[in-house]
Symmetry: C2
Subunit: 170 residues, 2 copies
DNA sequence: TTCATACAGTTCTAAAATTGAACTGTCAAA
DNA sequence: TTTGACAGTTCAATTTTAGAACTGTATGAA
């Protein structure tokens, strides 16, 4: 599968993965949420090669996750700022952090604490149902095909290839 | 940076990314939540190469996200089942799906709808504060160093290399 | 004026990861 | 006896990524 094919999959998760589903992109976005805005800032915070960083930033801009905004003329310099589409990634970031906090800590404890300005307390993120407000778990959710679902006839494979016998075909 | 170094970073997000932060792993986990359990099931649903699939499954088992359980003797066959650690990835999966539903839909609409068994309604996942229950957004959250934070002295770079001048050093 | 540095990239080669395809081996059914 | 399901493993070819240097504008210091 080519990776741009992911964005055409009739699956919202696959499409999201097509945009942000690689390690460097996720780390770049972490820095964005920590207020990094400039090329050198990302590069020195992450140790990513300049080549990949340039490429990933371009892709995020193309996808509308970041906006490239000039902050000085001559030499032209730009900052990379999260768009609303980018800011909407926040729940994904928090969910990643929270899983790490729950399952990947060492003896030293949490690297970061999060304070909720509205209530002034240190908090954890909790995912709830938009309708009843109860916390969600996989077992309480039932999945139905929606209007954009793939027709049942082609449900077999992401890349539509039939698995074929591995003994010589002719 | 080598990818196993990610898991040693004093950052819960980096550690999580070290475990599930690549495209195939995320797609494999999607299938797990859709009740796929067997090698051939993953392979034909995703079109992933058998080589990579075997490797990714091994890693997920090693990380405690999946458990490998025999379902028949001779020939030995195993199923891959989400552990509790794996089930706890659910909020991440839902957050990915929800962002895709919000920002990556085509004209046809949502590929999947989610029904909450408890309340019987189709819902969206919402991330709220564990303390006050209000929905979260990036701007209302303030980050503090926790007990496991990296000392300020080495805050510079993920890989601890100082960026050095790019003109000939000798 | 010359030198060093900041910044935002681009270019190049070597190394690592991924793809695609075939191969192994056990067992069941035809 | 042959074919197919299943769960991998192996290997060559391609694609990505890493690591390092290079380009080019501009500023401040010597």
């Amino acid at each position: 599968m080519k990776w741009d094919e992911l964005e055409e999959e009739p699956c919202s998760m696959a499409r999201t993965i097509g945009v942000i589903g690689d390690r460097w992109t996720l780390l770049i976005l972490r820095e964005c949420f920590l207020r990094t805005r400039r090329f050198e800032g990302f590069q020195s915070a992450l140790g990513i090669t300049r080549h990949l960083l340039a490429e990933r930033l371009k892709k995020l801009v193309r996808q509308g996750v970041l906006r490239r905004i000039p902050y000085q003329e001559s030499p032209k310099r730009h900052e990379y700022i999260l768009t609303q589409k980018g800011l909407d990634l926040y729940p994904i970031m928090m969910a990643l952090v929270h899983w790490g906090d729950t399952h990947m800590l060492d003896e030293r404890g949490r690297p970061l604490l999060h304070e909720h300005r509205k209530c002034g307390k240190m908090f954890d993120p909790v995912m709830v149902c938009s309708e009843c407000g109860e916390p969600l778990s996989a077992k309480e959710v039932h999945v139905h095909p929606g209007p954009g679902a793939r027709p049942a006839s082609e449900k077999v494979s992401l890349d539509k290839k039939k698995p074929k016998s591995r003994r010589q075909a002719a």
